[in-house]
Symmetry: C2
Subunit: 126 residues, 2 copies
Amino acid sequence: MNVSAASALNLHGFTAGVLPANCPTRTVLDHVTSKWGVLVLVALSQETLRWGELRRTIEGISEKMLASTLRTLEADGLVHRDAHATIPPRVDYSLTGLGRELADRLLPLMHWISANASDIVGRPAE
Amino acid sequence: MNVSAASALNLHGFTAGVLPANCPTRTVLDHVTSKWGVLVLVALSQETLRWGELRRTIEGISEKMLASTLRTLEADGLVHRDAHATIPPRVDYSLTGLGRELADRLLPLMHWISANASDIVGRPAE
DNA sequence: CGGTATCCCCCTCGATACTG
DNA sequence: CAGTATCGAGGGGGATACCG
């Protein structure tokens, strides 16, 4: 292992060379990499969106999973919920400061995946 | 939406403001954000590891899930498998060029998560 | 050591229906 | 419009046993 590789794994709370199981990092990683977590964060990285806009932006998400994903991310302090007591009701979702920091790390990942996805999935079957 | 925000969503294959369902990007995202995908890629980002080392590094992973995750990532061309016909057998796993590019986007994310995880999970319960 | 095969539980997720 | 409630199927994933 060279020096830069060693420092790359010098993650806060990670023992050298081990990815521990009982660690808040695992929990957050599970929330973010839950089936819809990344997509919600990426969608909100562009702009504040209403519930219905979010649902249309993220094709294929069910109401139940959108609600549940938003609740988890809100409880984690990554997403801010702003409910207006109007008729019809209006609820805006946006990223918190923490959420924006996270999204800034997620966007390069998404860009790379979307640029390379066809090379990856399009490979000859086994 | 400002200009930088608009360009940020200018993802290859993504229609403006929409995250499409039937898209290779979703498939790759699912593979990477499968329960163990990120952890395997991060572990291998440090160095080539043998099966047993990988199993010990990623605490809590079962043999079945390690095998299954490695097979998926190998089929995606992200991980390289190098089997030596020795006794006892020895199998080395490493990242391919593609896998390294991906890991380079994953490491900043993991660093941020591990640095902020306790702030996130440690919030007061609802 | 480095796997594969099998069983089976649980939990995620989708569908549907309903409400403020 | 913006949700919540309930139900049920499916498969992700763990435990165990076995093989080259």
